[in-house]
């Protein structure tokens, strides 16, 4: 695969992480195609092919609903994430798009300043690339640990 594709995906990943970390959650669904799959699961569930996830969406509408629920309905203490992403490994180029895997580390910063490593893992992605623009057809967020501290509100 070309360096061109690598750079297009890399740019999409950087914008995705910055969007969440800046708190612009309303723009987060824009990084996905419609329909799309977005899942947050654990390495153990992924290994054992257990399909139920911590977060599951199979439409951009469900991603929008995640955001409006967080904004309108759910109660949680104010916090932010800092995503640190590794470089994507390009795994395969198929008719549906490009498969890639990207490691991530997410630090959670609570309103009182307390910081924790909240999650590490990998994004297993299927990107559709059109006109030098990459959209996620599928993102499986595989967290290395099966333990989630307190709650998972903001997307990974």
């Amino acid at each position: 695969m070309t360096n061109d594709i690598f750079h297009i995906i890399m740019r999409a990943q950087a914008d995705y992480a910055r969007c969440i970390d800046d708190g612009r959650l309303e723009s987060w669904p824009d990084y996905f195609d419609d329909p799309c799959t977005y899942k947050i699961t654990t390495a153990a569930n992924y290994r054992d092919a257990l399909e139920a996830a911590i977060v599951f969406a199979n439409s951009r509408g469900m991603l929008i609903d995640r955001v409006s629920s967080l904004r309108e309905a759910n109660i949680y203490e104010r916090h932010t994430y800092r995503h640190i992403l590794g470089a994507p490994s390009l795994l395969d180029e198929i008719e549906e798009g490009v498969r890639s895997e990207t490691p991530f580390l997410v630090v959670r910063i609570m309103r009182d300043g307390e910081m924790d490593i909240f999650a590490t893992g990998r994004y297993l992605d299927l990107y559709k690339i059109r006109n030098r623009d990459a959209k996620l057809t599928e993102r499986i967020v595989v967290c290395d640990s099966s333990r989630i501290d307190t709650l998972l509100a903001l997307p990974l």
Partner: protein
Amino acid sequence: MTGAIETHPAAAETLTWPPGLTRVPYWAFQRDDIYRHEQQRIFQGNCWSYLCLEVEIEHPGDFRTSFVGDVPVIVTRDADAEIYAFENRCAHRGALICLDEYGGKKRTFSCVYHAWSYDLRGNLIGVAFKDGVKGKGGMPQTFRMAEHSPRKLRTAVVHGLVFGSFSDHGPGIEDYLGEEIMARIERVFARRKPLVIGRFTQVLPNNWKLYMENVKDSYHASILHLFFTTFEINHLSQTGGIIVDASGGHHASYSQIDRAAERDGEYSKQNIRSESAYRLADASLLEGFEEFPDGITLQILTVFPAFVLQQIKNSVAVRQVIPRGTQKTDLNWSIIGFADDSPQQRLVRLKQANLVGPAGFVSMEDGCIGGFVQRGIAGAPYAREVLEMGGALAESSESRVTEAAVRGFWKAYRANMDL
């Protein structure tokens, strides 16, 4: 109050539990000595604790590791197809016997430290170098393997749920649960074969009892959890009710959608946060299938001390509550599907799993609310909770605007703790 717990002479008077069920002193969530007594008197006492699903140890040789309170245990199915459980602690020097979460085709467990080995019932069957080497060393002639084994649990299966008890003297599981709770477990599983379709652990920053109070608190559900209320899943004005068993320790709260009552205005009168006109962009999340002939759309059931069975629409899950010290709790979620699910039904379960768990639309708040209490009471061990909603008793009622099941928890707690 027994003398053993009174380690704080200056506070001896206030350490006494207030009479009745409507006050709970906050030191119950803070004190290390109380935590240790809970482990002995409740988790290792006459109570039954959930261990795993029967289907997780389906075949002879299958095993899972689990916990009863903070005690690690191994649950197995032996060649006779019966289920056994024993403490995951080597009789020799106390190391964990089994480090894996699950496995199959097991015939023996061997401790990695000195290779003492056990059969699937927890009997010690081998001691490495027992007779020494070349006639030297070895265990004394008086050593009898039969006298050494980890503690064994009584086990029982209830509609596919495996429970264990460290006590041989407590009631059998059916008497422990009672007919009403047994029936409420049965209606969820309905003689079907459950499957675990996902697992995760939510780490709660609070005492385990604060989580159990929260689960039994039908008063908070439609106030804290806006998602429920807005989407007609659990309005207090719906039909339904709450069952509290005679011991107080078990409960089931349930509701049925009643769209006529939904418009009766109880909520607008109260000026509660639930008035928002929030609508889903993709409402397929709430489009379930007819699964329960009784029309119950929500049932939250607890078994004392620390087990939860949940049915929210088509989302079925079991939650195992594991104390990890006075201020930390592991909440182990197992998301349940059924072997006869069609692909469409399974997809509904995957979608509705969004309602629960650490990112659950209707349950994420329960992950932080206990922490808010734990932090709020930091300087107030002798202040007390007020539990007067719905009266002073711990009994079943048609209204869910009640703290009856929370009072029931404390009734059972105090009986077991001798407080």
